[in-house]
């Protein structure tokens, strides 16, 4: 008889983890602390301090995008969770639909829309308005991030909100809570785990993106992801420096997430008092 809880069933996963997660991580650490000859050095790490302004800008834009995603996705996910089952299925289908198209292609499309001679500016000129500078701005980068990553905010929020039974909202109303009180005292605390995972799933890829900033941000919106890309694949190839920058980014992301999740748990504990 095969016991599904037998230890050996987890071996493929462990092997996978070792090969494709742990090992690459160790390699990054190794290259970050060595020079091209393989000798130990702190120069790469010290040098990556130069990139802190870039990193701060990356975090700023990613945080802004995450915030927009949250503000847009939250009411949407809530309304969606209150729809009938068949409509819910249709809505999640519509959310997933753009993801069937290649990420690069979608971003190209935005390029075509935002360009100086693009769709929007053509329309603006046609109705006699002056053209606007849209492409190569940090706004375009944030827009690209929001557009590409909002499904990752909607889906965890939606899945947690479907678990909030209608009768719980009715109970809140029955006990005297109006719309905003029900939101603040019931819906918000119950959806916190969804907010935490949604924010994580949007912020992490947004802070390390290079495609979106490269295609929509122009030269003025050089993000940490672009930097790493150039160091690994571009003309300033430097495996060790690139590893150090990656390491810096990882550490910063980890710290940000730790602070964030801490803040969230404290907040939810407060709600209990």
């Amino acid at each position: 008889m095969i016991r599904l809880n037998a230890k050996w069933t987890s071996y493929p996963y462990i092997v996978w983890m070792l090969l494709f997660t742990i090992l690459p991580l160790l390699l990054v650490v190794y290259f970050a602390f060595t020079d091209s000859s393989g000798a130990f050095t702190l120069d790469n790490v010290k040098q990556s301090a130069l990139y802190i302004p870039t990193l701060v800008n990356s975090i700023y834009l990613a945080a802004l995008a995450t915030l927009f995603c949250l503000v847009l996705a939250y009411p949407f996910a809530f309304i969606m969770s209150r729809l009938s089952f068949s409509r819910q299925k249709m809505m999640s289908m519509l959310i997933m639909l753009p993801m069937w198209m290649n990420f690069l292609l979608r971003t190209y499309a935005w390029q075509a829309i935002l360009e100086d001679n693009g769709v929007i500016n053509t329309l603006l000129t046609a109705i006699g308005l002056p053209p606007a500078t849209l492409i190569n701005t940090s706004g375009a980068v944030v827009l690209g991030m929001v557009y590409n990553y909002i499904p990752f905010m909607i889906l965890p929020l939606y899945s947690i909100m479907t678990k909030i039974d209608k009768s719980i909202l009715e109970a809140s109303s029955d006990l005297g809570a109006g719309f905003f009180a029900t939101f603040r005292r019931v819906v918000l605390p119950l959806s916190l785990p969804g907010i935490v995972s949604g924010v994580t799933m949007v912020f992490v890829p947004a802070v390390s993106t290079f495609v979106i900033s490269g295609m929509l941000g122009g030269s003025g919106n050089y993000l940490i992801g672009d930097l790493i890309e150039v160091q690994f694949l571009g003309n300033s190839y430097d495996l060790n420096a690139g590893s150090a920058t990656s390491l810096l980014l990882m550490v910063v992301v980890l710290i940000t997430m730790a602070i964030f999740s801490r803040f969230e748990t404290e907040d939810s504990e407060e709600a209990l008092v």
Binding site: D165, I168, L175, G176, A177, V186
Partner: protein, 360 residues
Amino acid sequence: MDQNKKIIELKGISKSFDGEQILKSIDLDIHDKEFVTLLGPSGCGKTTTLRIIGGFVTPDAGDLLFLGKRINDVPPYKRKVNTVFQKYALFPHLDVFENVAFGLRLVKTPEKEIVRRVREMLALVNLSDFESRRVDLLSGGQQQRVAIARALVNQPKVLLLDEPLGALDLKLRKEMQYELKKIQQRMGITFIYVTHDQEEALTMSDTVVVMNGGLIHQIGTPQDIYNEPINAFTASFIGESNIVPGIMHRDCLVEFAGRDFVCVDGGFEKDEPVDVVVRPEDVDIVAASDEYLCGKVTSVTFKGVHYEMRVDCGGTTWRVHSTDFTPIGSLVGLRLTPEDIHIMHKSDASGVKNYGGAQP
């Protein structure tokens, strides 16, 4: 029970969902400090009626009055009624204390008073030691008590209970029936209770409202409902009964099962076809003789307190409850005294809307 003071009035309330009419213009008065039970099979409209009073469903037609004022358009959070939901609907992110305190916090009650009133309520439902427990770790019965305390702490004028004991086991259910009745009397407020369990309705209520197919069939005290069912539906839904067709020859004389019987009912037209209801426990088993309806025992089931028997009398099966054992195959007589025979007008399948003189 203050019989003169109407706390809630339903006047011609109708409601349809997806083209199906759930409530067909019902009228109902509920008095102050009354324990009213809406009783009926699932789909009869009892829960919809309760949800209309709670404010979660807006009626299509008719008026809902609270102390004489129309409240059709008043949202639930502004009504002086509170609800105990069928599935408890406790807030999973709050502990027992905070669940109960929820309503008080919304109206900015001073902390000291919150503590006092929540503790008082938890004592009332015997949950004093559970203040800081998580609600999802409580048993069904305990969750039910939290739900009751959470509703009562707001001192509502009316408490609505939607099949609150449905998920509990039999023993606990009996205990809770007794306790709910006690709580209702102690708090001195109106309870409107929805159930499909006739025994529950008879045990707790001052007034039972029998519903079926979106209509109210009968309103009355448990004794009225049980002893004087107004139609075949009420008779068959409440308790067990033998319902046989008969003809009312004149006042106090009815013919059924091929014989004439003296009864105590009157006011029927001459030779009107009627339904005759006889409760199984009212039938006395006697030795077979020409004097009585006679038949052969076809089955005997031991039910604890009594034996349930089926007696075949010329093709009609009579259900009889008796504490004496009679073997299968025995020929027995069934003695019916005039008080055991209840005569009812024939009702169409959809039921009737006149509910006789049973209204208090």
